[in-house]
Symmetry: C2
Subunit: 496 residues, 2 copies
């Protein structure tokens, strides 16, 4: 694990990796591109899961589980889908290992080779196996809608990986819903985009732009891909979640029909939507600083850490008694609190450890504090410490946690505002892209212009903001390159 | 899905599959041996997870996540481990698919074949990758103990599969702990066996025998495997959970050492322990009947279903108002309750549906009930229904749920008692095994006798009961086959 965190100004990429490792959020594994989530990283994911799962259930969804392995033939049933995923699939071809001839290792047993055409693909996403299943589950309008979510691991064979942002295996949730009408499916797609927006902004304290992707950035097999886009501290955009309206594409590929109320057969309408452990990357890159991780209180596994301070045995008893009482009181107030009473480590070491790990609030309690009926409180998001009267502690702690949550969001929103530019000419565009951030600019709507802009500036169209998003800008103008008419300004950025 | 459930007396195996499908707990997938968990089955697993996860955390464990893929070379580092798992491994050998020459399908792209020795195995269990990681995480006694659990999917290539009991992919948890001393590791192994026992008996209402496995049934790589064994209604035993004391085997294989307080290097001591979706099979086979699933209230996703009954529009309003009030009241009382207000289905159809699905309590509310201030209550575990005064409903419901939980356990324990025989001669043994159930018999402690008994009777030694288990029987005797001395009676049964 890194001992020192590289400053952002020196090397942003290295800073990110240093924070991830110093805060023990992820670790490399012996398989290239695979990642280990140690307890700190996984606890954060568990908290995200808990909140999202509650939001999914509150909007009528149920969880289910579909197999890890997909017959390779399934992938090719939807033409665009196979195009999008065939090139990054882990393929299982054998079912046994045997000892090598020299006895020193193992190798796939040739006798266990799967028959031609029977190879299995490790799911890169589950539309195919789920729509094969839905075609058996759905007969009548009475079976609709199906509103299912799955928490799972998926594998996409990536060559250039980066912890959390792009890994071969990642953890995610994938919603897959089936509807009787197009309207209902579109409504569901947008509902889930709203859920993601609420989660990003209210829990992660990460402001996002809500929009629709261009054809070239669409999910392979979707009619429309909606997304939330966040801005990282280095001025690069990060796609934080997507919600796809799949039309009848998968229903047609897997022959999934239902008898409507008029006894006619129709194809089912579909959506899918997902967020992944990538969100942890977004969280880190939005809030953290050169001292390490900064966590929003609503998702922090530990919101408050208490560090007891004493030297002599008599002091220990007094301090530990006070600490136990404080911990109990905060727990009752609904705070996720822990006491670090380890004697193998000194208080100063612990202060540093929890700063690096991003615990929002630190309390220190020494003999003098006990005597004076105060507790020393330090915020992770602001420098300094204050002395809080013991009898006001629970209120001050819960208030301060709310303030930190609000402060992180405000800071991130302010940063985004400063890094969002509106331009109309190509020169201004290139300069703005070079400086980083979101750039709102006209576009003629053609994939050719989009490709040329990407080639020349490495910027991509992150999305066309939805009318309900504050970044929606229906100013009619002309394309910066072609002079052709533009219906609205779209959001460009260099992206992860 | 099956319309009719085959009676147990007619065909027990078919009955089991019928119940699983009729209650929508699992479904077959296009990949042989893989299973789909529809919402009903997954909700049950979620409840099990929630309870177990709480018990793990209460005993000091944290969750983490390790990669799905393991380098094939890792498997061969522990000699017995590779012996146990090499023959049932899914092996990934390619990283891309390409379109076949005739353009009709896809196949592994030969250009993407992994280099010799770089193939990946889909984890059948995670000891190897975890101990490789621990060898990097652990340096000093200060880093110990590590108490980690993982919720994950694993794959074991099984040819003969059965829903829940034996599938190629299954969901489970695997605990992997690292300790400074042998005593501490043994203590942890037994602590987790106690956790599993409490979960099986207090939540699943499944009585279990706690014991230690013979060498031939030990986990591949363990020094000792402890287990809990349950008895199914057909008289067959089912291993419901295992906790392994791994000694220093994996620490030695992966060179995992720590500096002790005297600055000496020692190998770390290890445990691992797991339960899987197999528990759902145990639950079904312990409690269910010819009408379908029977669920213990403490794990039932829905504990109480309310079915409103009305014919005319005026009745509907009255009934739905009363139903909403009842649902609210029960929810406040902490009951997992749902109302089935669907108009596409008749009450009689719903009664049948929830009986098949094993909902512990059903309430029916009609206009006359509202008028008379009563509610009709029917228990899933006993025939008949009763009329409960409206103002006593919440108390009666919570009491009845407790009674059902206790009744299911008592019934299962009574069944087990009737099906447990103590014998001393081989003739009596063979007859008892033929009749099904647990058979306590002497054994000379040799694998040869164990193997011969298995061959001749298809019975295996399920375990040597621990001293703390009521089935512990230290009667000294002589082996039924060899006449050699036996130190205690051991538990035999035919098993799943």
């Amino acid at each position: 694990m890194a001992d020192k965190i590289t400053p952002r100004s020196e090397d942003y990429s290295q800073w990110y990796l240093d924070v991830v490792q110093a805060a023990k959020l992820a670790d490399y594994s012996p398989v290239r591109g695979s990642m280990i989530l140690p307890p700190n990283g996984y606890a954060l994911w568990e908290n995200m899961q808990r909140v999202l799962d509650g939001m999914f259930k509150a909007t009528g969804h149920q969880n289910a589980y579909f197999p890890l392995f997909i017959p390779q033939s399934f992938l090719s049933k939807e033409a665009e889908h196979v195009e999008g995923f065939a090139k990054e699939c882990a393929v299982v071809t054998h079912s046994r290992l045997r000892t090598t001839a020299d006895g020193t290792g193992v190798e796939p047993d040739p006798a266990s080779k799967l028959a031609d055409g029977e190879n299995l693909v490790v799911r890169p996403t589950s539309e195919t196996i789920i729509w094969d299943t839905y075609s058996r589950w759905i007969q009548s309008w009475r079976d609709l809608p199906i509103l299912i979510n799955q928490w799972a691991n998926v594998v996409r064979w990536e060559l250039r990986t980066r912890l959390f942002l792009r890994t071969m295996e990642f953890l995610w949730q994938e919603g897959h819903t089936a509807h009787a009408t197009e309207d209902e499916a579109v409504e569901e797609t947008l509902r889930m985009l709203d859920v993601y927006t609420e989660f990003a902004e209210e829990y992660m304290a990460v402001p996002v732009i809500r929009g629709v992707k261009t054809a070239s950035e669409r999910f392979a097999g979707a009619v429309d891909t909606y997304c939330i886009e966040a801005l990282m501290q280095d001025g690069k955009a990060l796609q934080a979640g997507t919600s796809h309206f799949l039309g009848q594409n998968f229903a047609k590929a897997f022959d999934c029909t239902f008898q409507n109320k008029d006894n006619e057969l129709e194809h089912v309408w579909a959506t899918s939507w997902g967020v992944s452990t990538r969100l942890i990357g977004a969280l880190i890159m939005t809030h953290s600083d050169d001292q390490g991780l900064v966590l929003p209180p609503r998702l922090a596994p530990t919101q408050v850490v208490i560090v007891p301070i004493y030297r002599k045995d008599g002091e220990k008893e007094t301090v530990m008694e006070a600490v136990a009482e404080i911990e109990r009181e905060l727990r009752v107030a609904g705070v996720r609190v822990k006491t670090d009473a380890r004697e193998a480590y000194r208080p100063g070491w612990k202060f540093n450890e929890y700063e690096v790990q991003g615990v929002p609030l630190r309390l220190a309690v020494g003999p003098r504090d006990v005597k004076n009926n105060v507790v020393e409180l330090a915020r992770r998001d602001e420098p300094g410490k204050e002395s809080v009267p013991r009898d006001q502690l629970a209120d001050v702690v819960t208030d301060t946690l709310s303030q930190i949550q609000a402060n992180l969001f405000a800071r991130a929103e302010n940063f985004r505002q400063q890094k969002t530019t509106t331009v109309d000419t190509y020169d201004a565009f290139k300069e703005a892209i070079e400086q980083g951030g979101f750039v709102l600019a006209p576009w003629d709507g053609t994939p050719e212009t989009e490709a040329r802009l990407k080639e020349e500036t490495k910027a991509t169209i992150r999305c066309l903001p939805l009318e309900s998003d504050p970044h929606y800008d229906p100013t009619e103008g002309v394309d910066m390159l072609t002079g052709q008419p533009s219906k609205q300004r779209v959001v460009f950025a260099r992206a992860y």
